[in-house]
Amino acid sequence: MALLLPYELVDKCVDSRIWVKLRNQKEVVGELKHFDRNLHMILEDVTCYEPLNEGKLKITKLDQILLNGNKISVIVPGGTGPENAKIQTEKEYLEQEKMKKEKQMKEEKEKIEEEVNSTLQKTNENENINH
C-alpha cells in the first residue's frame, strides 16, 4: 500500500482547477499555475468566496493572484467550489454509508458461495471419474 505524499498530490493538480480553503471562512477556487514548499500559489481565473453573516456569500472574481500559503487549511483538487458542492445532513450521510456497507457484505457473501459451489462441483466430478 503506497503512501500518497501530500506535495505529490498538489503537484498533480498543476494546470487544473483547485479549491483552497483558508484558515478563516474564506475559500478560493482557481487554476493552479505554480506552488512552492510553503504552498504559496499562483492561481488564475480566480473566484473568492467569503461567507457573511445571515448566510450570504460575497463573491469576487480576479484574473491572477499570488495566494499566501501561510493561512491555507485545506486544498481540494477539482474546482467544484462551495456553491456546487454536495451538502447533506449527517443522518442522510450515515444512511448512505450503511447501504454501501450492506452491499459490500452481500457481494462478498455471494463470492464465497460461488467459490464453495465450484469446489463442490469439482470434487463431485472427481468422485464420478474414480467410480
Binding site: M1, L3, L4, L5, P6, Y7, E8, L9, V10, K21, R23, N24, Q25, L39, P51, L52, N53, G55, G69, N70, K71, I72, S73, V74, I75, V76, P77, G78, P82, A85, K86, I87, Q88, T89, E90, K91, Y93
Partner: protein
C-alpha cells in the same frame, strides 16, 4: 540528543484508517488517511467536511459537504483522531 530527530508521533498507525481532523479555526473534516509527511500535511480520501456557520461554530444539526480527495496543511491542524473507538456523548 538522540531523541531530537525522531518525530513526536507517527501517522503510520493511522494509515488507511478513517480519521477525523480538526483545524485551528474550528473546521472539522474526516476521511481515510492516504498519505502524510513529517510536517503532518495529510492526504485524505473520500473526505467530508462538517460545515460551520460564518463564525466558525459547527452547524446543529450537522451538515456534511462531500469533498473527495483532499490535502490538509499540517500547520493548520489542531488534532487528528481515528473514528473507530470514538463515540459522540451528550452534553450534560
Amino acid at each position: 540528543m538522540s531523541n531530537f530527530f525522531k518525530p513526536v508521533f507517527d501517522l503510520e498507525d493511522y494509515f488507511d484508517k478513517k480519521v477525523h481532523i480538526r483545524f485551528l479555526e474550528g473546521r472539522e473534516v474526516s476521511g481515510v488517511l492516504k498519505g502524510y509527511d513529517s510536517n503532518s500535511n495529510c492526504v485524505l480520501d473520500q473526505a467530508i467536511e462538517y460545515l460551520t456557520d460564518a463564525n466558525g461554530n459547527l452547524l446543529q444539526p450537522p451538515q456534511i459537504m462531500f469533498l473527495g480527495l483532499m490535502f490538509c496543511k499540517g500547520s493548520s491542524i489542531t488534532s487528528i483522531f481515528p473514528e473507530e473507538g470514538s463515540t459522540i456523548i451528550e452534553n450534560k
